[in-house]
């Protein structure tokens, strides 16, 4: 009678596999090999896909997409760009008090500007206002215009990190 068989409460198949495969260590090694293989497989697949996507970078559809969505680098007017370009914040020199070390790494917003009617000083203030809205303590020392799309930005970011990592080093000592 099927009710009875259904009620049999067999342990879930995965556990059965585990018990069948003999001792625990053997099983642990098996899972580990399969596990790391799958991790590599998954990330390799993404990597391949990314390379393909980049190669296809000149295909018609994404090109159309690229233009309207991303405005050219020197953007006019004041925008709270907090969430659009936080990772390469070349314009704001965040000082020691930036607390962006945790899991929820906090974002430092940048603002590019070239319209004459709003002066750089005001931009700085607005940047700070955006920061205030984001809830981080950021000390602005100087404001420089930076081309965040250029490749030197990477070295620049590293360089700036040196200035801000005093605390990191202190902690170790």
């Amino acid at each position: 009678m099927n009710v009875f068989t259904l009620l049999n409460f067999a342990p879930p198949p995965n556990l059965l596999v585990a018990q069948a495969s003999g001792n625990l260590l053997q099983q642990a090694v098996a899972i580990s090999f399969v596990g790391i293989a799958i991790v590599f497989f998954a990330l390799l697949t993404i990597m391949v896909m990314l390379v393909v996507l980049k190669k296809l970078g000149e295909s018609p559809e994404p090109r159309r997409e690229e233009k309207p969505v991303v405005p050219p680098a020197p953007q006019p007017a004041v925008q709270s760009q907090a969430s659009s370009q936080p990772a390469i914040p070349a314009t704001v020199s965040a000082s020691d008090s930036v607390q962006a070390k945790s899991t929820s790494s906090i974002v430092e917003p940048a603002a590019e500007e070239d319209e004459p009617e709003i002066s750089p000083e005001i931009i700085a203030i607005l940047t700070a206002a955006a920061i205030a809205a984001l809830g981080t303590n950021v000390r602005i020392r100087k404001v420089r215009f930076a081309d965040t799309t250029s490749n030197t930005a990477w070295a620049e970011t590293g360089r700036r990190f040196i200035h801000t990592s005093h605390r990191l080093r202190k902690k170790d000592s």
Binding site: I38, L50, S83, S104, G158
Partner: protein, 482 residues
């Protein structure tokens, strides 16, 4: 009135104080101290530390059920018992066999039950009921009060096939006293909080450095060796498979992933696993550099990498979509973590949902962090934490981080065998997520050798790849072991 006062003092924390409580309070204070003074992941360790205080205030659990220790996970727990003869101290009795016990899954819980003798056989927990005179009662229909946790078990008429339908229900008392903590706990128990934190992390993460150098994805994969290496070591140390997987995941260096997997596989280890994961994440600048220096030559550390081309926005938009579909196909069980991570990133990169991304990055992740930290802490009690297991977990945790670091560095060297565009193997160590700490460590070690070598942004690639890698690993472990 003197009696009233006496009774109050007896019931209060002073009357119920035990050494376990004292030690746990000390541990809570230690982590709060580390967080505030040493800046050890304060956003998590302050809530967790305070949660430990909350969870270890002594009280008379017979009179007051605060739902902190072992409150119910649900209002109506429905389980199914069958009976079979069980031998207890040489005598054979009919006993309930609790199948898939909804909450009383560790023997410790059962042993603590005032009226029941807990006997466990392999995977299953069997217990019989003992009456007021200490005799083992025959399995009879009725309501059994499992005193400590405040559950009452309602057992229906016995049936001819020796099965009983059982409804485990929390007593009313629990529902009222449990208060905010009990509700919050459900958030972890159902795996609710970690995916929401991943949503915020996705909205906070710029995958740009990864997209600019796709090959660093493999470094993020290699660093997951720490997970599986620690898993094997844990099995050797005598942990069972589920526990070993929960300990191994510390090597993922990713708090929410560790909490997610540990809650599903070995909730009794949650406190130790979470504390060791966050502690070692904060100690990455101490753990990693020696291993990095040991495994690399000075020439390798001096390698300068050319800054890659900037990534156009459409790639940034396509990445979370493509990445989600691929990883979800391959590792179904990581779907809720990876789905939320990539969804948060799409909110961020799409540029048309900026207000949603901003809320996910700020308020939403903050609220969940507060609740998650507090409840992980409050779940950490003397009974499960003050064991030799915990020492083992902390030892295995540092080994996991070390293996992960070595895995990343060595794989970078391995990749250099096949490419002209050499990778500085130091950035391999950043595959141990701990975003962005381990990327900074790579920068610092490189900088020691060459003041003009800036590998920070290159290291961010494997760094964020490690987040994806450990979520995939968690998915694999979950689907095999759950």
């Amino acid at each position: 009135m003197r009696d009233t006062l006496y009774q109050f003092l007896h019931d209060s924390g002073f009357g119920q104080f035990s050494s376990g409580n004292l030690i746990m309070l000390g541990i809570g204070l230690l982590f709060i101290f580390l967080a505030i003074r040493k800046n050890f992941e304060p956003l998590l360790l302050v809530p967790i530390g305070f949660g430990i205080l909350i969870g270890n205030i002594p009280y008379d659990s017979q009179k007051l059920s605060l739902g902190v220790y072992d409150g119910p996970t649900s209002e109506a727990k429905l389980a199914y018992y069958s009976t079979k003869p069980v031998e207890v101290r040489g005598v054979s009795y009919d006993a309930f066999e609790l199948l898939e016990p909804p909450y009383l899954s560790t023997h410790k819980d059962l042993v603590a039950l005032g009226d029941a003798v807990a006997v466990h056989t392999e995977e299953r927990i069997v217990y019989i009921h003992r009456d007021g005179n200490g005799r083992v009662a025959e399995p009879a229909p009725g309501v059994y009060t499992l005193s400590h946790g405040g559950h009452s078990v309602f057992v229906a008429e016995p049936r001819t096939d020796h099965r009983y339908s059982v409804i485990v229900t929390p007593q009313r008392q629990d529902m009222w006293n449990a208060s905010v903590l009990w509700m919050i706990f459900r958030g972890i128990e159902f795996g609710f909080f970690p995916p929401l934190i991943f949503l915020g992390i996705g909205a906070l993460t710029d995958f740009g450095p990864l997209l600019a150098q796709p090959r660093t994805l493999l470094l993020g994969a290699a660093a997951q060796l720490g997970i599986f290496g620690a898993l094997i070591l844990a099995v050797l140390m005598g942990f069972d498979m589920k526990e070993a997987a929960s300990i191994g995941i510390i090597g993922g260096a990713d708090g929410p992933t560790a909490i997610f997997l540990c809650t599903a596989l070995a909730p009794h280890l949650l406190g130790a696993v979470a504390l060791s994961a966050y502690s070692y994440m904060a100690m990455v600048p101490i753990i990693q550099p020696p291993i990095m220096r040991l495994l690399t030559t000075r020439e390798e550390r001096l390698i300068r990498m050319a800054p890659p081309k900037a990534v156009p926005q459409h790639i940034k938009i396509l990445f979370p979509i493509v990445g989600f579909i691929l990883t979800a196909f391959i590792a179904n069980a990581a779907l809720s973590l990876l789905g939320m991570l990539f969804f948060g990133n799409l909110l961020r990169e799409s540029l048309v949902t900026e207000r949603l991304a901003k809320t996910a990055q700020t308020t939403l992740i903050d609220i969940v962090t507060i609740l998650l930290g507090l409840s992980v802490g409050a779940k950490t009690q003397a009974a499960t934490f003050l064991t030799t297991q915990t020492i083992g977990i902390f030892v295995l945790g540092v080994l996991a981080f070390s293996i992960a670091t070595a895995g990343g560095v060595l794989f970078a060297k391995f990749m250099n065998l096949f490419t002209n565009d050499k990778i500085n193997p130091l950035i391999g160590a950043a595959g141990v997520s701990a975003v962005p700490m381990s990327a900074r460590v790579a920068q610092r070690v490189a900088h020691e050798e060459d003041k003009q070598n800036f590998v920070l942004m290159h290291a961010m690639g494997p760094n964020v790849a490690g987040v994806i890698g450990s979520a995939v690993a968690a998915g694999v472990l979950l689907s095999y072991l759950q």
